[in-house]
C-alpha cells in the first residue's frame, strides 16, 4: 500500500512537471506566433506601400512626361505596324557563327561556287 502511494505521488510530480513544461513551451510558441503574425502584417503593409509607389512611378502620365522631356521619340505611325507573317524569311547565313575571320570564310565559300553568289542567299 505504501509502495503504491509512493508510486502515485511520484507519477503526480512527474505529470505536474511535464504539464508545466508543455504550458511553458506553449506560451513561448504563442508569443512567437503573435510576433510572426505582426511581422507578416508589417511586411504586407510595406509591400502594399511599395506597390503603390511603383504604380505611381509607373503611371503612364509620368512616363509620358519623362519621355517627352528626355527622349526624341515620336508617336508610332500606323504603317509601322505589321504582322509577323509578313516578315521576310531570315536570310541564309553565309558562314556559321563564332568564326574568327568571317570575311575570310565568305571569300572561301564564294571561291567554291566559282565566284557567283551562293544559291539560296539573297
Amino acid at each position: 500500500m505504501r509502495l503504491l502511494n509512493i508510486v502515485v505521488i511520484g507519477a503526480l510530480v512527474m505529470a505536474a512537471a511535464y504539464v508545466y513544461r508543455i504550458k511553458f513551451e506553449a506560451t513561448v510558441q504563442a508569443g512567437q506566433l503573435t510576433k510572426l503574425r505582426s511581422d507578416i502584417r508589417r511586411e504586407r503593409d510595406e509591400i502594399a506601400a511599395l506597390r503603390a509607389e511603383w504604380a505611381k512611378l509607373d503611371s503612364p502620365s509620368r512616363i509620358e512626361g519623362l519621355a517627352k522631356r528626355h527622349l526624341p521619340l515620336k508617336q508610332i505611325d500606323v504603317t509601322q505596324y505589321d504582322r509577323l507573317d509578313n516578315l521576310p524569311e531570315r536570310p541564309v547565313q553565309l558562314v556559321p557563327d563564332n568564326i574568327e575571320d568571317p570575311i575570310g570564310a565568305i571569300i572561301e565559300r564564294t571561291d567554291e561556287s566559282t565566284g557567283s553568289i551562293p544559291q539560296g542567299a539573297r
Binding site: R41, R44, D45, A48, A49, R51, A52, E53, W54, A55, K56, D58, S59, P60, S61, E64, Q75, I76, V78, T79, Y81, R83
Partner: protein
C-alpha cells in the same frame, strides 16, 4: 412503474440513515457516495479544461482589430491588365485621451511646435474636453509620428489607419470615384464596392486586414491615358468648355476607357464638389444631335418598310405646324437612304421616322433603352429627358436628335447594338467575357440591319461627314452629331455640342469610340465651322490612332470600299 422505482431506491435510505443496518456497511455506503460526487466534480472540471484547450480563443482576433485600423481596409482596384488603380497604404493617425493628459498647456505647446498646421485653440478645446478619446490629426507622416513620439506626452497615441491612394491621380477619376476620411466609398466604383457587401463586412469587424480579393475593372489604363491626353489636347485646341469620351467593347459591353474633362484628383476629393467636374457621360443628359439619326435609320431599315434603295424627298424644308425643318448641308433633291445618312439630312430622317409613326418610334427607342434610366455599377446616373407629350412633331425632331436628352453612355449602348449584329448589351465597368455578355444580350434589330448600319457608317467615313476621322488602316466608320444647346429656352446658333461616334473596324466591329465636345469654337483652320466633322471627328481620329494598337487592332491597308467589303460579303453569307 412508480412502484418499481420506489422499490429499487427503497434500500438506499435505510442504508445511509437506518438504525437497524450494519455500521460497517453504512460507512462504506457513505464513503462510496462521497467518492462518486468528487469524481463527478472533477470530471466536469476536466471536461471543461479539454474544451478550453481544444477550442481557440475566439476573443483574440477581435482585440487586435479594435486597437488599430479604424478606417476600413478596401480591396485593391486593378485595371484589366493588372495595373493598380487604387490601393490601401497604412498611415498613422494621432489621437489623445484627454482624461490621461496631465498638463494641457504643455501638450498644446509641444504639439503645435511639432505639427504646425494644428490649430492651437481647437487643440486646447479638444484636450480639455471630458471625452475618453479625441482625434488630433488623421493621416500624419511617419516622420511626424517619430517626432510626436519623442515628445513623450502621456495620453497621446497613434493608430495605424488604412488610407486610400490613387497612384494615377486624375487619370481614372470618374470611374473610380473616391472615399471619405473613414475609407468609405462615396462615389464611383468605390461606392459600388461599399454597397456590395464591403460596408457590412466592415461593420462585422472583418474588413481591417488587407486579405481581400482585388477588383478587376474593364478599364485599360493605357487606353484611358491616351483618351484623356487627346481629349485635353482637343479641348484646349477648340477652346471647348468640356470634353468627354468613351471607348467601349461592342461585343461585351465593357467600358475600356471613360474620361470626362474637367475631371478631378480622387486623392483630393474636395475637387469633386466643383459642379463643372461632374461626369458628363453618366450624370449629364444631352440632345445627341445627328448621332441619333443612326437609330432612326436602323429603325426604318429594320421595319422592312425602308430599304437602302428607298428615296425620300428633301427638295423643300419640311413644314410642320409653324416649324420648318431645314438641312444643314441642303442638297435640295430627292435623296436615297445612304445619301440621307452621309449628308446628314434632317428632312430625310424626319420623313423616315414619320413613315414608321409615333408609336413605332417610341417603341423602338424604348427597346434600345434610350427612354429609361441606365443603371451601371456607377451609382451616379441620370434619367433621360423625354417630351411631356410625344406627338408627331416630337418624333420629327427626335429623329434627328433634338427634343430627347439621354446620357451619352446610353447612346453608346444603343449604337453598339446597331453595329454588333443587333444585340443590346448593358454596359459594365467590370470584366465580362463574351459568353457572359451573350447571356445578358437582348436582340433588338436583325443582323442584316446591323450589316447595313455598318455599311452606312463606313460609307460616311469614305464620302460623308466623317472623312476627317478615317484613320488609314483601321477601317473606321462613324457618325457626326452636332446639336445646338438650349440657352434661355431657345436653341443657340453659336453654342454647340458636337459628338462623334466611331466604330472600328467597321467590317468586324470590336470597339466603339464616342467623343463629345461642349461648345467648341470655330478656328481659322476649320474654316470658321464648329460642327462635329471639324472638331469631334479629328479628335476621334487622333484618339483612334493612339488607342488602336493598345486595343490590339491590326491595321489593314488593302480593304476594299464598304459597298464591297460589308454589303456584298455579308449578303453572300446570309
Amino acid at each position: 412503474m412508480a412502484a418499481a422505482r420506489k422499490g429499487r431506491f427503497d434500500f438506499v435510505r435505510p442504508l445511509l440513515y437506518g438504525r437497524d443496518v450494519d455500521r460497517a456497511l453504512k460507512t462504506r455506503a457513505r464513503i462510496g457516495l462521497v467518492i462518486a460526487s468528487f469524481v463527478l466534480v472533477y470530471a466536469v472540471i476536466g471536461a471543461r479544461l479539454v474544451m478550453l484547450a481544444v477550442m481557440a480563443d475566439p476573443e483574440a482576433p477581435r482585440r487586435i482589430a479594435g486597437t488599430d485600423a479604424v478606417a476600413t481596409a478596401r480591396p485593391d482596384i486593378l485595371d484589366r491588365r493588372g495595373e493598380i488603380l487604387a490601393t490601401d497604404v497604412r498611415t498613422p493617425s494621432l489621437f489623445a485621451e484627454p482624461k490621461k493628459i496631465i498638463d494641457v498647456d504643455e501638450a498644446v505647446e509641444l504639439l503645435t511646435a511639432t505639427l504646425p498646421d494644428l490649430d492651437a485653440t481647437e487643440l486646447r478645446e479638444r484636450l480639455s474636453s471630458k471625452k475618453g478619446f479625441v482625434w488630433l490629426k488623421r493621416e500624419i507622416t511617419p516622420k511626424q509620428q517619430q517626432e510626436v513620439h519623442r515628445l513623450g506626452l502621456p495620453g497621446v497615441g497613434f493608430v495605424a489607419e488604412n488610407k486610400r491612394v490613387y497612384p494615377n491621380n486624375a487619370e481614372v477619376s470618374h470611374v473610380l470615384g473616391h472615399v471619405n476620411i473613414d475609407n468609405q466609398g462615396i462615389a464611383g466604383i468605390e461606392k459600388w464596392l461599399d454597397s456590395n457587401g464591403l460596408a457590412d463586412l466592415h461593420l462585422a469587424g472583418f474588413a481591417s486586414d488587407r486579405q481581400q480579393k482585388p477588383i478587376e475593372l474593364a478599364v485599360d489604363l493605357r487606353v484611358q491615358h491616351a483618351l484623356r491626353e487627346e481629349l485635353i489636347a482637343g479641348r484646349d485646341k477648340f477652346k471647348a468648355q468640356a470634353a468627354a469620351g468613351i471607348v467601349a467593347d461592342v461585343r461585351t459591353g465593357e467600358i475600356v476607357a471613360m474620361v470626362s474633362i474637367p475631371d478631378y484628383d480622387p486623392n483630393d476629393p474636395r475637387q469633386a464638389l466643383d459642379k463643372t467636374r461632374i461626369n458628363r457621360l453618366t450624370t449629364g443628359v444631352f440632345e445627341m444631335g445627328s448621332t441619333f439619326k443612326a437609330l432612326t435609320l436602323a429603325m426604318a431599315l429594320d421595319s422592312g418598310k425602308v430599304t437602302l434603295g428607298s428615296t425620300f424627298d428633301a427638295r423643300m424644308p419640311l413644314r410642320y405646324g409653324k416649324f420648318d425643318i431645314h438641312d444643314y448641308h441642303a442638297q435640295k433633291r430627292v435623296l436615297t437612304v445612304p445619301e440621307i445618312f452621309t449628308y446628314s439630312s434632317n428632312i430625310g430622317t424626319a420623313r423616315m421616322a414619320l413613315s414608321i409613326g409615333v408609336q413605332g418610334h417610341q417603341a423602338f427607342l424604348k427597346k434600345l433603352g434610350q427612354l429609361d434610366r441606365l443603371r451601371t455599377e456607377l451609382p451616379e446616373s441620370a434619367e433621360p429627358l423625354l417630351p411631356k407629350r410625344w406627338g408627331e412633331l416630337n418624333t420629327v425632331t427626335i429623329a434627328f436628335g433634338h427634343g430627347l436628352s439621354v446620357a451619352p453612355l446610353q447612346a453608346v449602348m444603343g449604337i453598339s447594338a446597331l453595329v454588333n449584329g443587333g444585340k443590346l448589351i448593358p454596359p459594365t465597368f467590370l470584366r465580362r467575357t463574351e459568353q457572359e455578355a451573350d447571356a445578358l444580350a437582348k436582340r433588338v434589330i436583325k443582323p442584316e440591319t446591323s450589316d447595313k448600319m455598318r455599311y452606312l457608317m463606313r460609307l460616311n467615313a469614305e464620302v460623308g461627314s466623317a472623312k476627317k476621322a478615317d484613320v488609314a488602316g483601321y477601317y473606321v466608320g462613324g457618325k457626326t452629331g452636332t446639336s445646338e444647346k438650349v440657352v434661355g429656352g431657345r436653341y443657340s446658333k453659336t453654342k454647340l455640342l458636337t459628338s462623334f461616334t466611331a466604330v472600328l473596324p467597321a467590317d468586324q466591329p470590336r470597339y466603339l469610340v464616342l467623343i463629345m465636345l461642349d461648345e467648341p469654337q470655330p478656328l481659322p483652320e476649320t474654316k470658321g465651322f464648329a460642327t462635329s466633322g471639324w472638331n469631334a471627328a479629328p479628335v476621334a481620329a487622333s484618339v483612334i490612332t493612339r488607342v488602336a494598337p493598345a486595343l490590339g487592332i491590326e491595321p489593314r491597308f488593302d480593304v476594299p470600299p464598304s459597298a464591297q467589303q460589308i454589303l456584298q460579303a455579308t449578303a453572300s453569307i446570309r
